[in-house]
């Protein structure tokens, strides 16, 4: 059922290519993320069997059809708990979540601060096009105030959310922003996010060619944090950068080390739950409680 028109020139890391033609609109920012991800996975030397992609519902969710890996295309907004369950069941898997700004910041926002503070070793990549793409262009929590969309014909009445600031305030140990228009840079960010042990949050500006095409504007305003000597260990500096409005910084905002969540379950990890064949369990010790 792939009747889409392929957009952009793409050099794929073939190992991670399902060979399916993406059905995104021509010029869609999702292409850039797809390419950057495949390359990052290849560069990390991973095998498709070791990787699990969890994708939400939205245009971004189609990633699971195009990346050769284990995939779980979940319901709207639940990428993080799904990914958490997978990672805890089998920590040897590399678990990457792909969510949208609607998926992650509207319906799914309740999970983000918890994943962050738990420091579950999962990478969350938010395809942030500032619009509900798949449902044909309503406002999301990152849509700029005043913007006319299908659900806000008189202008979006809501102040947008600042996802990076929120992630920082939630205790995320890796916080970054990428731009789908800069694939090489994004690839690098994804590599770092996956390598980071603990929760990695990566918001990617992903212009929606059809409902909110801001390529030109983003290109004009974007700059790289690393070009200006940003200290990724400083929470304060990260917050300051996240509050910038005129220019748009991309790169790693913040990075710190904390034990990942799974370290709370050493008693359950040899083998981990996902790798156990169910066996008869001796409960005699427990029955003595009930006499």
């Amino acid at each position: 059922m792939d009747h889409g028109i392929y957009g952009g020139v793409i050099v794929v890391a073939e190992k991670f290519d399902t060979g399916r033609r993406p059905v995104w609109c021509p010029g869609c920012g999702n292409f850039g993320i797809l390419v950057a991800l495949r390359r990052a996975l290849a560069r990390l030397g991973l095998e498709p069997e070791e990787v699990v992609l969890v994708t939400g519902i939205g245009c971004h969710g189609r990633m699971s059809g195009y990346v050769r890996a284990n995939t779980f295309h979940t319901i709207h907004g639940r990428v993080l708990p799904l990914a958490t369950g997978i990672k805890l069941a089998n920590p040897s898997l590399t678990v990457i979540g792909h969510s949208g700004d609607g998926d992650a910041y509207a319906i799914g926002l309740g999970h983000l601060p918890h994943a962050a503070r738990r420091n579950i070793d999962v990478t969350l990549i938010v395809h942030d096009n500032m619009v509900f793409g798949l449902t044909t262009g309503q406002a999301t929590p990152t849509t700029p105030k005043g913007r006319i969309t299908r659900s806000t014909p008189y202008g979006n009445p809501e102040e947008p959310l600042n996802p990076l600031f929120l992630a920082l305030a939630s205790g995320a140990t890796f916080v970054a922003r990428g731009f789908s228009g800069d694939i090489a840079h994004l690839e690098e960010l994804i590599v770092r996010a996956i390598r980071h042990e603990g929760f990695s949050f990566l918001d990617v500006i992903q212009p929606c060619a059809t409902f909110f095409n801001i390529y030109r504007e983003v290109r004009r305003r974007v700059y790289k944090l690393e070009d200006e000597g940003h200290d990724t260990r400083s929470l304060e500096a990260a917050i300051r950068k996240s509050l910038e409005t005129e220019r748009i910084p991309i790169g790693v905002f913040f990075e710190t080390k904390k034990p990942p969540f799974r370290e709370n379950f050493p008693h359950a990890m040899s083998p981990p739950p996902g790798q156990r064949v169910p066996r008869s369990v001796d409960l005699s010790h427990v029955w003595s409680r009930y006499r």
């Binding site: 639940r78 990914a83 996902g274 409680r289």
Partner: protein, 565 residues
């Protein structure tokens, strides 16, 4: 082993006074005297101060449910006396300070015992137990042993409490002589039996079924499952997580199951409401998940600490679209253990969601049941390690029985593609009408095996006779107690509510000239299933929806009406 055949005891007091703990100690003590026991409690959703009670019935034969009367009451406050006076057959015991000015209450030196031993005043409940045991000439050594077991984590506290109990026991000697109550018998605990609550039983059944991942958000009356499994996590190598919500819980469970773990969650109706979307996801992705739904009285927040059987239709039909699911409804802790075990096995055998439907009465009530056997979980059609098939691995391969071999992510040579959207055999999204129809048919093809399971294990009949009383879940207890001495009555318990065991149930109802239905709801949900699936209009329906379990008396009276008629 002479002594009384039966003994019913109630301890009541304000929340926070250790009422349940005393009740549990009483139950175990009676069990160790050689009785079958059943315990049930009632409490408002308040941490301190609201009136609570726990009732324990002991008998030399199996005990299913409480009657309305009790032999002895231990009143930890005046309110207990006021509330329960009417149902007492033999004696009410209270501390002197409580009993003052109350007629017909034995003023016991409970606080005095506490003080003499130098115990904190909360120990007064153990003094009460000691005193009552003294009145009935039980074995105080067994009481002390139970106290030591129950307080096992705090050795000193245990010792002090045991001493308080013994002191009060000794004080009771005089009153015992005066009152001359029929003494307890002192024998050995019923062989091969345990005293267990439904929550523990379902949790342990799941453990027996290979549970390795548990995530749940606290909700009365299911929270004790979380507490128990959290405690056992180290011994049994479990991952136990308390996530931010029920939505997170069910999705974590789904993720874990997808990744190969036997996973479960538990909640009550409100939390289950929040899980309905992900229930459909589990069905569509064919991920084996198990949800325990411990019903409480609704609608909405309702009566958080009271019982009900009003969520049956809801769990059978929850979530958009159509898909097969199991709904298992155990009626006692032994069945709860089996249901916990079966739930995981069935979920993995058929790759469908399984709901274990319990209720507050079963979940928090204690019964004496056989110690469950050690069981062998089976893996189902699971591929681990390496996939060596000829063709590329397809997660949703169409098979004759509808079940596709399920590879676990990490398996060499297989990529596992789960999809909540409709999809083809390879898991990739499809809207092709033929594919869509084929995949629905595939999922429903599991139904024939599932129906067989339901017809196999889904109905139990007790006794025989032309009058059939059909019931389900914990209500079977009051019905069994009520019909114990009735002639010509068969009790038919439905344990599998989905898929509905129509064939088996019809068989069990053969020859019945009248069919009655008893269940703890208002509209008659099992009754509606009889109409829907058997085209059978029951001749009578007894419902109850005040949050309290049925008493055998009210069931008996109602059934008797049909026998005379």
């Amino acid at each position: 082993m002479s002594g009384r055949e039966e003994f019913t005891f109630l301890v009541g007091g304000p929340a926070g006074a250790g009422v349940f703990r005393s009740g549990l100690v009483a139950a175990k003590t009676l069990f160790r005297h050689g009785y079958y026991v059943h315990g049930d409690n009632e409490y408002p959703s308040i941490i301190r101060g609201g009136h609570q009670w726990m009732m324990v019935k002991a008998a030399k034969r199996e005990v299913y449910a409480h009657g309305e009367e009790v032999d002895a009451v231990l009143a930890l406050d005046k309110e207990t006396v006021a509330r329960h006076r009417g149902r007492v057959r033999e004696v009410i015991v209270a501390d002197e300070s409580v009993a003052r000015g109350l007629e017909g209450v034995v003023a016991a030196p409970l606080m005095r015992s506490v003080r003499e031993v130098g115990a904190p005043s909360v120990a007064v409940n153990m003094a009460g137990l000691g005193f009552v045991l003294g009145l009935y000439r039980g074995d105080v050594g067994r009481l002390e042993a139970v106290i030591r077991d129950v307080f096992s984590k705090k050795r000193e506290v245990a010792e002090v409490n045991a001493r308080v109990a013994r002191r009060a026991y000794e004080y009771a000697a005089e009153a015992a002589g005066e009152l001359a109550l029929e003494p307890l018998s002192i024998g050995e605990p019923p062989r091969g039996k345990i005293v267990i609550d439904g929550n523990s039983a379902v949790a342990l059944g799941a453990l027996a079924g290979g549970l390795s991942f548990y995530a749940a958000y606290p909700m009365t009356p299911a929270s004790p499952i979380l507490h128990l499994l959290a405690e056992l996590q180290k011994e049994y190598g479990l991952v136990v997580v308390q996530p931010e919500s029920e939505i997170a819980a069910i999705n974590m469970v789904t993720g874990a199951a997808y990744a190969g773990a036997r996973a479960m969650t538990a909640t009550s109706g409100g939390g289950f409401s929040l899980m309905t979307e992900a229930l459909g996801q589990a069905a569509m992705t064919e991920t084996p998940v198990v949800i325990v739904e411990a019903m409480r009285a609704g609608p909405s927040t309702g009566l958080p600490t009271y019982t009900s059987q009003a969520d049956l239709r809801f769990v059978i039909h929850a979530s958009q679209g159509e898909f097969p699911r199991f709904v298992l409804a155990p009626g006692d802790p032994y069945e709860a253990y089996m249901a916990g075990f079966d739930a995981l096995n069935l979920a993995w055998k058929y790759q469908v969601p399984v709901i274990v439907l319990t209720d507050k009465y079963l979940a928090e009530g204690y019964w004496t049941v056989d110690e469950p056997p050690r069981l062998e979980p089976s893996e189902g059609k699971v591929i681990r390690g390496e996939y060596r098939g000829e063709e590329p691995y397809k997660r949703y391969k169409i098979t004759p029985d509808g079940v596709s071999p399920m590879a676990i992510p990490g398996t060499k040579g297989a990529l596992v593609t789960a999809n909540s959207s409709e999809h083809g055999e390879d898991g990739y999204g499809s809207t092709d009408p033929e594919v869509v129809t084929a995949m629905q048919d595939k999922r429903f093809r599991k139904l024939s095996g599932m129906i067989e399971e339901a017809n196999g294990k889904g109905v139990k009949t007790y006794g025989g006779g032309p009058l059939a009383v059909v019931t389900w879940g914990s209500t079977k207890n009051a019905v069994l107690e009520a019909t114990r001495d009735m002639y010509g009555v068969r009790v038919v318990q439905v344990l599998y509510l989905s898929p509905f065991p129509s064939e088996r149930l019809s068989r069990e109802l053969e020859g019945a000239d009248r069919v009655l239905v008893v269940e703890a709801n208002k509209t008659g949900q099992l009754a509606s299933l009889l109409r829907e699936h058997l085209l059978l209009e029951p001749d009578g329906f007894l419902g109850k929806y005040d949050g309290r379990p049925f008493t055998p008396e009210e069931v008996e009276e109602w059934i008797t009406g049909f026998m005379e008629g």
